[in-house]
């Protein structure tokens, strides 16, 4: 019986009494930052040792045979970005698509671009920086070299299919391979190099099929789950039985002699086993006797949202015109509503997996992390190695939708490999994946608005409470995820602070500011609307669970509240929800997507609820929502059409129309795929998904206890309306449609029934309760 130092201390404090234990160690240290997806800046600059981001050779290499290799720090998660980046380089360099090879996220090879997250790959790599600018710089360099070689001015040359020729005399030509011949460019990225205008595109902007599809459907594709290293062993981890439980003792004798056992590994509260085969590792992990201290306990789920309001908070103000209370008091009509959003999980289809090979002071990791560079620096901390001795190689995992178990399982594999000095593969069990995720945040959101005599909004106040703990590990906080914490690292600290300082700059990264606000900060309007009486106050509080970015983090929750409340206001003054929105919007691109979606959906101008609705039985309705994602990263509007069974409370979504303006479209079919997936994932989250827990632990641990729509059901029609803005900047498209689904569906339920459901998910019970409450 080994008693760790921490366990002894915890036991001494607890005396094995749960009550005492709660008193002394119940203070979970937590922290939160809104807009975690853009936290690269917060976590510091590039990790040392990365290929310099300002040098062309970090991005592009051309072999003697003319094959182009592009290196990128933005990786394929299933969103199609590898295809789009390959198109981009083929376009800028004027080579065929299949002459470009893309290397994604390898800390020994690719430039450090922090995360592949937050719908930032298009803004980062498809405008005037990074990969796109590398392509333009390389093309111009090749043209200059060809001009020297052929003795003809650049403006008389043309480039096509990797060959530069003289316009007037195409027989005079030279290939890229001949010009570069495997040598380096030795050039900085040229900010003045001309990117091709979308009107000239022949590869980018086209629905180029994904090159990974044939491999996927024939089982040739290598996921991280398929990585096999010679001599590789298999690990399993044993997570605590309750939140906050720590290791009191591990009885290694309990598994002695089991087939395949290589080692039992204990490091503080991290416990795992290594065996020759994965099935053996699972048997050993199940049989291993561990005594855990009692957990720290969890607050009741029944009154959780009320409790959240009373926690010490770190406050933030996004906008404040300082006259909101006064305007609300003076308004002839005042409306209030509270919206609730649960913790939801990434729930990746495949449980997370990684392979680590740690030998002495060197480590090689095959990981599906969204941040190879931070995986490098924080795994180094977990292992006690120098970061420069850790090599992280991205291999695609199961779709993650944000911070799933990919980072934590990489620590798991690394710790187990270090303990045995051999390569170890770890794949989490379904329960380990789901019970210890960094969940998408729960949200409590209060909305208040005052209307003038004409029904126009004169003041709107938004106040939210957001419980959070942990986050992405960033460059130096492995304790932000479960394995790091178990191995002895603390999550980022939480320090309450209230009241918040006035904002010095406008930041609507979290879509905390409704689309209808003027967004006045520093004497300048930054928002997409016209409402001048405006305030947004956010209270960040401690969460009992880990939290982290889940596809459209905070943006989805805030938009659900804002867009449903906007509908409530329109209904209050008997206005058409479309007309009422347009009345309060000023951004022309946002107005355009709203008009495009409603036109395509054949929106009938009339107030909600539908005056012709049936009082009982099945009734149909439509709902609208819109947003400028992250305040600057993609315009989108959605119309959802639903049927509500008023006897059962069951909601069936029949049709979803999404209009998107994300700048110049890189691949219309890829964009359509993202719109479809986002809309349906958003629908699943709106109607079914909610993390549950008891006094000790999370109880959503598999697909029977956490609900998701299956592949086969009466799938709604999903229609994308793509506005291709070729003269604008490229913005993100991976999180636009999902951000609107809950709001549009909630508004459609109201339109169909006159019942407003303000709590996600819209389960039949909650819909029925709302139906009864409408009177």
């Amino acid at each position: 019986m080994n008693l760790t130092h921490d366990a002894r201390a915890a036991l001494r404090r607890s005396g094995f009494s749960r009550r005492d234990f709660l008193k002394t160690s119940g203070a979970l240290v937590v922290a939160f930052s809104v807009g975690a997806e853009k936290a690269a800046a917060q976590f510091g600059g590039p990790v040392a040792g990365s290929p310099p981001i300002g040098q062309l050779d970090s991005w592009i290499a051309i072999a003697a045979d003319g094959m182009v290799t592009a290196y990128t720090g933005k990786e394929e998660l299933g969103q199609g970005i590898s295809t789009a980046q390959t198109q981009l380089i083929a376009e800028e360099l004027s080579v065929p698509f299949d002459r470009v090879r893309l290397i994604m996220c390898d800390t020994a090879l690719t430039p450090d671009q922090a995360y592949t997250a937050g719908s930032q790959s298009h803004p980062a790599n498809f405008n005037r920086n990074n990969l796109a600018q590398a392509g333009a710089t390389a093309r111009e360099a090749l043209l200059r070299a060809a001009a020297d070689r052929l003795g003809v001015p650049v403006d008389q040359l043309q480039a096509a299919d990797g060959v530069i020729s003289v316009k007037q005399d195409p027989a005079k030509k030279v290939t890229y391979g001949e010009l570069v011949a495997g040598k380096k460019f030795n050039l900085p990225l040229d900010p003045a190099a001309r990117r091709k205008h979308p009107s000239e595109w022949t590869v980018l902007g086209k629905p180029v099929p994904r090159p990974d599809l044939p491999l996927l459907v024939t089982a040739e594709f290598e996921f991280v789950h398929n990585v096999r290293v010679p001599g590789m062993l298999h690990g399993r981890v044993v997570r605590p039985p309750a939140v906050g439980a720590t290791v009191a003792s591990v009885d290694e004798d309990s598994v002695v002699g089991m087939p395949g056992l290589v080692k039992v590994v204990v490091k503080k509260n991290f416990v795992g086993v290594v065996a020759e085969k994965p099935w053996q590792a699972l048997q050993i992990a199940r049989k291993l006797k561990i005594m855990w201290t009692p957990g720290t306990g969890l607050p009741s789920q029944a009154d959780f949202y009320e409790r959240v309001r009373k926690q010490p908070a770190r406050d933030g103000v996004l906008v404040d015109s300082k006259d909101v209370e006064q305007k609300l008091a003076g308004a002839p009509t005042l409306l209030k509503a509270t919206y609730l959003h649960p913790y939801q999980m990434h729930g990746s289809m495949g449980s997370s997996c990684a392979v680590a090979d740690v030998q002495a002071d060197q480590a090689t990791l095959w990981s599906a992390t969204q941040a190879v560079w931070y995986q490098k620096s924080t795994t180094a901390m977990v292992l006690g190695l120098k970061p420069e001795n850790v090599h992280v190689i991205f291999r695609r995992g199961s779709g993650c939708y944000g911070l799933n178990g990919a980072d934590t399982v990489t620590y798991d594999a690394a710790l187990l490999s270090q303990a045995v000095g051999k390569p170890v593969r770890v794949q989490l069990t379904r329960q380990d994946e789901m019970a210890w995720e960094n969940y998408g945040n729960a949200y409590v959101m209060d909305e208040r608005a005052g209307l003038d005599a004409q029904g126009n909004i004169v003041a709107w106040d938004h106040e939210s409470w957001v419980p959070a703990r942990g986050n992405r590990p960033g460059t130096g906080t492995p304790g932000n995820i479960i394995t790091g914490l178990l191995a002895g690292f603390e999550p980022q600290p939480f320090s309450p602070r209230s009241p918040a300082a006035a904002p010095t700059m406008y930041n609507n990264n979290s879509n905390g500011v409704p689309s209808y606000f003027a967004g006045n900060v520093g004497g300048k309007d930054h928002g997409t609307g016209i409402i001048r009486g405006e305030r947004v106050l956010v209270h960040n509080v401690e969460s009992p669970f880990w939290t982290g970015p889940l596809r459209s983090p905070a943006r989805l929750q805030n938009t659900f509240a804002h867009e449903c409340f906007m509908d409530e206001l329109a209904a209050r003054v008997n206005a058409d929800p479309l007309e009422y929105r347009l009345r309060h919007l000023k951004d022309p691109r946002l107005i355009d997507v709203v008009k495009a979606a409603t036109k395509s959906a054949k929106w009938e101008p009339r107030p909600s609820p539908n005056p012709a609705r049936a009082a009982r039985g099945v009734t149909a309705g439509r709902g609208l929502a819109c947003v400028l994602y992250e305040g600057d990263n993609g315009y989108t509007a959605m119309v959802a059409e639903v049927e509500v069974n008023q006897d059962s409370g069951q909601v069936a979504v029949r049709r979803i129309v999404v209009a998107n303006d994300v700048g110049p479209i890189s691949n219309p079919d890829g964009l359509q795929n993202q719109i479809e997936g986002g809309a349906l994932q958003g629908m699943s989250r709106a109607l079914l998904e909610e993390v549950t827990w008891d006094e000790q632990k999370v109880t959503s641990i598999d697909w029977r206890t956490y609900h998701s729509f299956p592949l086969g059901f009466a799938v709604p029609k999903v229609e994308g309306v793509l506005l291709n803005r070729i003269d604008e900047e490229a913005t993100g498209a991976g999180e636009t449609s999902i951000t609107l689904a809950a709001a549009a569906i909630g508004n459609a339920i109201f339109d169909a029934t006159g019942a407003r459901v303000r709590r996600v998910p819209f389960t039949p019970e909650r819909v029925k309760a709302a139906l009864e409450a409408r009177g």
Binding site: H234, G347, G712
Partner: protein, 155 residues
């Protein structure tokens, strides 16, 4: 441990494993096949689906001894890039994937169903695919691809 003989994609393999080992572990760890995937290990998500004697089964909860000698087909066994099965062809034509982790289980589930129900209606296909998950929610394209493949298979 005991020696077990398996017939996978037309080839006989002899493996020495604990006979209680789920078939999935043998396929992916002993035979190194990339098709069947571990999604949940509980028979809930369908990622591990393979076809045994014409039936789609969940290989993650099927002890290997129970399929000894039976004809086992994985995604690898139904076609290749050069000679794709109609389902593989349709999934590429429809660009029916995002992360692609579920694709193997989806195609194998659809194949077992379409082989027996070549004239299946839309609701029947939906029903047949209701025990399989795609968390990227590529439902629209995958169901369309299955329908198209069904039409070709029925010809």
């Amino acid at each position: 441990m005991s020696a077990i003989s398996l017939k996978v994609n037309g080839r006989i393999h002899r493996v020495d494993v604990d006979p209680a080992t789920p078939l999935l572990y043998v396929l992916s760890d002993d035979l190194d096949l990339r098709g069947p995937k571990f999604g949940c290990g509980l028979g809930q998500c369908g990622a591990c689906t393979v076809i045994v004697k014409g039936q789609a089964i969940r290989s993650c909860i099927t002890p290997v001894r129970s399929v000894e000698g039976a004809e086992i087909t994985t995604l690898e066994g139904i076609g290749t890039i050069e000679k794709p099965h109609p389902l593989q062809k349709a999934f590429v034509a429809e660009q029916a994937a995002q992360c692609g982790f579920c694709v193997s289980g989806v195609i194998m589930t659809a194949k077992a169903f379409l082989d027996k129900n070549p004239k299946a209606t839309e609701p029947e296909i939906q029903q047949a695919m209701s025990g399989v998950l795609c968390r990227c929610f590529t439902n629209v394209r995958m169901l369309r691809a299955i329908r198209q493949a069904g039409e070709e298979m029925a010809r």
